[in-house]
């Protein structure tokens, strides 16, 4: 079998990244400054490959790569279709933005641990890419463990209280991974196969089998812990708030989304729509997600620490994604049917939350500001950073034409089509709650005066502009700009064919068999 160059890329994305992780470790002994360069270059190359993969998948078709030439179901197979090509591009784009940002902030925050930071970071990226490209369910578990373990270590890197946060995450994350592994074991005991495509062929006659059904429940619960779906979110607020900010951005923007991807993959590629319709589990997920949306927002309102507030907001946003996933089997529109709203919000949330966490990191970098009440006058001191925060925040609230608005409209349309009017109300209420907690921050940054500050009539106020370095500012502004630009791009429907291919693949949306 002769493969074109692009068809080699799925494995190269992983191998290059894994080798780079060890190169960083060795190079770091000689020269600490080389770590960032190697990591940045690797992720850039990976991103370019991912873009080629996406293009290939859209124009030619799904890529199958057999590791070592062993044909499935015996060998491990990497399968890249429209769904994982799309996720891969998101993962690597945000990883690239975060690594750019990390150059100055890590040198400032963790000067002793630069080498280990970038080694772990590269392993994290490897794990995330691995989960995304693999077509083998046990291989997926391995990669989930790789990215989780590196995430535990990265969260703990600040020491002190972060150790506790990391430990909580480690315990809960391991339980989640165990559930996932149990699910795999159950399926293996029934079918004797680990290849996803192979499983999806063997399973249909066994759908009534209790072991197969129990396996699915294990997958759902295990991954729900990993993606911090309410009420299994308890590890998330600590982990997100005590990690270095670029890791918070990765955690919130990518890591929990990749777990969602894993759930989507298991639900629709290992199992099928026919199985999902057999059990009311997606309806149940909708309700859980709806509760998560509201309770996450309410808890966010109660926070004073900005990063903690953003963390609870992530719980709420994961609810959006899961609500959209839950509705995916009951919608048939060409536009908002199937997985389209969910996949759309995965990208949108990565942009918004990535930007917000990086801005929170900027405040900590500049002045060790953690609490919202301390942000008085920042609007004048750090105008660009605060402007970026504002753009991302109004996206979260869902002011048009931002990405948050587009997601909101699509999810509401999906709710309407499936006849679940209560969720429309939940979505609207949630955007109001978002307004409450984000506007509080914006108001403090721009409008509130410090206690000692006199009302000055002059144009230029006493406080001088004191911005973060350019290598941190550019990632922040890029994400903030994308929050608005992508919103318009979604509205023009240019990227929708990608998501339409995903629906075609799984027989969802307009491809569903009525």
């Amino acid at each position: 079998m002769i493969l074109s160059v692009v068809e080699q890329f799925p494995v190269l994305v992983i191998v290059v990244s894994l080798l780079s992780a060890f190169t960083i470790l060795i190079a770091g002994w000689l020269n600490k400054k080389s770590c960032w360069v190697i990591s940045f270059a690797t992720i850039l190359v990976q991103l370019v490959m991912a873009v080629f993969i996406l293009h290939h998948v859209l124009t030619v078709g799904t890529i199958h790569y057999w590791l070592g030439g062993w044909s499935p179901p015996w060998g491990i197979e990497y399968v890249v279709d429209a769904l994982n090509a799309y996720i891969l591009v998101i993962v690597l784009s945000l990883a690239l933005i975060c690594v750019t940002y990390s150059k100055r902030s890590i040198a400032h925050e963790l000067p002793q641990k630069i080498v280990s930071f970038y080694t772990l970071y590269q392993l994290l990226v490897t794990g995330l890419c691995g989960v995304t490209v693999t077509g083998d369910i046990f291989n997926m578990y391995v990669f989930i463990e790789i990215f989780s373990l590196s995430a535990y270590a990265l969260i703990a890197s600040r020491g002190k209280i972060a150790l506790k946060a990391s430990f909580t995450y480690l315990v809960l994350g391991s339980i989640g991974a165990c559930f996932f592994l149990l699910g795999i074991g159950f399926l293996y005991s029934v079918t004797g196969s680990l290849n996803m495509h192979d499983l999806s062929l063997i399973l249909p006659p066994l759908y009534e089998n209790k072991v197969v059904q129990a396996a699915f429940v294990f997958f759902v619960v295990g991954l729900s812990i990993k993606m911090a779906l309410f009420p299994l979110h308890t590890w998330l607020p600590d982990a997100h708030s005590f990690a270095p900010s670029e890791i918070s951005a990765m955690l919130s923007g990518i890591i929990i989304e990749v777990s969602t991807y894993a759930l989507i993959r298991v639900s629709f590629s290992v199992y099928t729509v026919a199985f999902i319709k057999l059990l009311p589990i997606f309806d149940f997920l909708c309700w859980v997600a709806a509760f998560g949306i509201i309770i996450g927002s309410v808890l966010a309102i109660a926070q004073y620490n900005l990063k903690r507030m953003l963390a609870y907001s992530s719980v709420s946003q994961m609810g959006y994604i899961m609500l959209a996933v839950g509705l995916s089997t009951s919608t048939h529109s060409a536009l908002w049917g199937g997985l389209t709203p969910a996949l759309m919000h995965i990208l949108n949330h990565a942009l918004m939350k990535g930007c917000l966490f990086l801005v929170a990191g900027a405040f900590i970098y500049k002045a060790e500001l953690w609490n919202i009440t301390d942000f008085q006058g920042l609007g004048r001191k750090m105008p660009y950073t605060c402007a970026a925060f504002m753009l991302a925040a109004i996206s979260m609230i869902g002011v048009p034409p931002s990405v948050g608005f587009v997601s909101k409209v699509y999810i509401i349309l999906a709710c309407l089509e499936s006849g679940k009017f209560i969720f429309v109300a939940v979505m609207l209420l949630s955007s109001l709650l978002n307004l409450v907690y984000f506007w509080r921050v914006i108001e403090t940054m721009y409008m509130k005066r410090g206690e000692g500050e006199e009302r000055s009539h002059s144009h230029s106020s006493s406080s001088k502009i004191d911005e973060i370095p350019l290598s941190m500012l550019i990632p922040v502004l890029t994400l903030a700009g994308l929050c608005i630009i992508m919103g318009v791009v979604w509205l023009t429907e240019i990227p929708l064919p990608i998501l339409d291919q995903v629906n075609a693949l799984f027989g969802l949306g307009r491809y569903a068999i009525p």
Binding site: L335, I397, V409, W439, E443, R455, H457, H459
Partner: protein, 504 residues
């Protein structure tokens, strides 16, 4: 000449873009006040000229709108503009008054040495962007987008003072109006779900009645009304008086014209172009809306009586007049709708005069309460004469524009017949209440003796402020004799005649 300069279909887009481009230059020249302010003036004049150049085309085209589509957002929902006669009325009003208020702002902000003036002009541009966008948008979806931009961009203007009071006002403003935005969005999406379109169609969306049940239509209308909380109908009005802590030019243009009129404009759009007059009749919603409006008219006037702060009193008067416009539409008769459409510019000109006078008094003497204004008419004769003209207009007395529209409303009631013929009496009571709270101001200003008696030295506001006041006051009178100024009455006739389905 003009056709060659700017092709007709691009004009709506350009009209919208004027303030957006202006805002960029305002930020770039933030450190040089004179150049910054010239950009505001330039953008406002350019916008008005472009908007006005569309008038002959729309009137000549027999109600055929100018369409321009940017892109398609959902099947059969375009993000685009459709300029018809009714939209132009609102666009002309906002853009013309923006020119005057820009000049007024220069005088006001500089006299009071306000802080953060660049932010102020920047946000003002985006607010106008939103308002004119609402006026020119061709469907509910586009309208919603601009409606939300309008809400968000006015927040920094309301909270401009940055005092705890101003911050509270800003928060309240957002809480009300973004909640309303949520209802509006729900209403838009549900409309789209029922009919598959959100376009404004003269006479209503044809398949709305057949697709949705009677109860659903009622509930949907309630959602729309809640969505247009910007129209400040009671009991959802209290954001408006609170927002009066904003600098006076903001109160003048945004809270007498752009923001609140966007709400009323939306209600008229929904009644005439989404539901259509026939369906409104069929559902009996006209009477419900009329009752709601008259309730607001009377109660707002009673509240106004109790205010001593001039701007707050004017705010309640605005609430009253906005409901008058809603009332006109609720009559569902040609003359009622004509009156409602005409009252949008007429009330705009009169109320902006009043607000600008209130601002001039603050600049010159710092007085905000009516009880302190004894004898101020001798000090500031031009301002107070303009104020008197505006006040006469509010009380619907000739020779002002207010008389014409009230005349139309009364005719509209007769035309509608039935229960509606009872309503002229309500209007009469409202007018009497109007007189009761406006005339004491005039009396205090001209005839009451001032305590300090600092002598009757004339001490007027700067010319930057005085000229706009004089212009709007004069225009309020010209409208009485010649309602076709700016082609307003022609546009109204075009709009109403194209509604077609209107019947007594």
């Amino acid at each position: 000449m003009m056709e060659q300069l700017i092709p007709i279909p691009y004009r709506p887009l350009l009209a919208i873009l004027c303030p957006a481009i202006g805002s960029i230059f305002i930020v770039l020249f933030g450190k040089r006040p004179n150049i910054r302010e010239s950009w505001t003036m330039l953008a406002s004049i350019a916008q008005f000229l472009i908007v006005f150049s569309m008038v002959p085309i729309v009137i000549g085209g027999n109600g055929e709108p100018i369409k321009y589509t940017l892109f398609t957002a959902f099947p059969s929902v375009d993000f685009g503009f459709s300029v018809d006669a009714f939209g132009l009325i609102f666009a002309i009003t906002s853009s013309f008054l923006w020119i005057l208020v820009s000049s007024y702002s220069i005088g006001y902000m500089r006299s009071l040495h306000e802080h953060a003036q660049t932010r102020y002009y920047f946000c003002f541009c985006w607010a106008i962007f939103g308002a004119v966008g609402v006026a020119l948008s061709g469907n509910l979806f586009t309208m919603f987008v601009f409606y939300e931009i309008l809400t968000v961009s006015t927040y920094p203007l309301v909270a401009h003072d940055q005092t705890p009071e101003a911050l509270f006002a800003g928060r309240k403003y957002l809480a009300y109006l973004l909640t309303a935005g949520g209802f509006f969005l729900a209403a838009v999406v549900i409309t789209y779900y029922f009919t598959g379109t959100t376009d404004f169609v003269t006479g209503g969306i044809p398949n709305l009645a057949s697709e949705a049940s009677r109860t659903a239509l009622m509930a949907l209308f309630a959602l729309f009304l809640l969505g247009f909380m910007k129209a400040a109908w009671m009991p959802f009005h209290s954001w408006l008086p609170t927002a009066m802590v904003a600098p006076t030019p903001v109160s003048a243009l945004l809270h007498a014209v752009a923001v609140v009129k966007a709400g009323v404009f939306g209600i008229v759009r929904v009644v005439c172009y989404i539901y259509g007059v026939d369906l409104m009749h069929g559902l009996g919603l006209g009477l419900v809306l009329a009752c709601l409006a008259t309730f607001t008219i009377i109660v707002a006037n009673l509240f106004a009586l109790a205010q001593d702060n001039l701007k707050r009193r004017l705010a309640y008067s605005t609430i009253n007049q906005l409901s008058l416009i809603i009332f006109g539409v609720a009559l569902l008769s040609p003359e009622g709708i004509e009156g409602a459409m005409m009252h949008i510019p007429f009330h705009g000109f009169m109320k902006i005069t009043l607000f600008m006078c209130a601002g001039a008094i603050i600049v010159v003497s710092g007085k905000k309460n009516i009880s302190e204004m004894a004898g101020i008419g001798k000090e500031m004769p031009v301002t107070m004469i303009a104020f008197t003209i505006g006040a006469l207009g509010m009380c619907a007395l000739p020779p002002t524009a207010g008389f014409i529209t009230h005349h139309l409303f009364v005719h509209g009631c007769e035309e509608a017949g039935g229960t509606m013929s009872f309503f002229p009496y309500v209007l009469l009571i409202a007018a009497i209440l109007d007189v009761m709270y406006f005339f004491p101001i005039i009396y205090t200003a001209f005839f009451a003796k001032s305590e300090g008696s600092s002598g009757s030295k004339i001490n007027e506001a700067p010319l930057f402020m005085l000229v706009p006041i004089a212009i709007t006051a004069t225009v309020s009178i010209i409208f009485f004799f010649y309602p076709d100024l700016f082609h307003i009455s022609e546009l109204v006739e075009t709009a109403v005649s194209s509604l077609g389905g209107v019947h007594p």
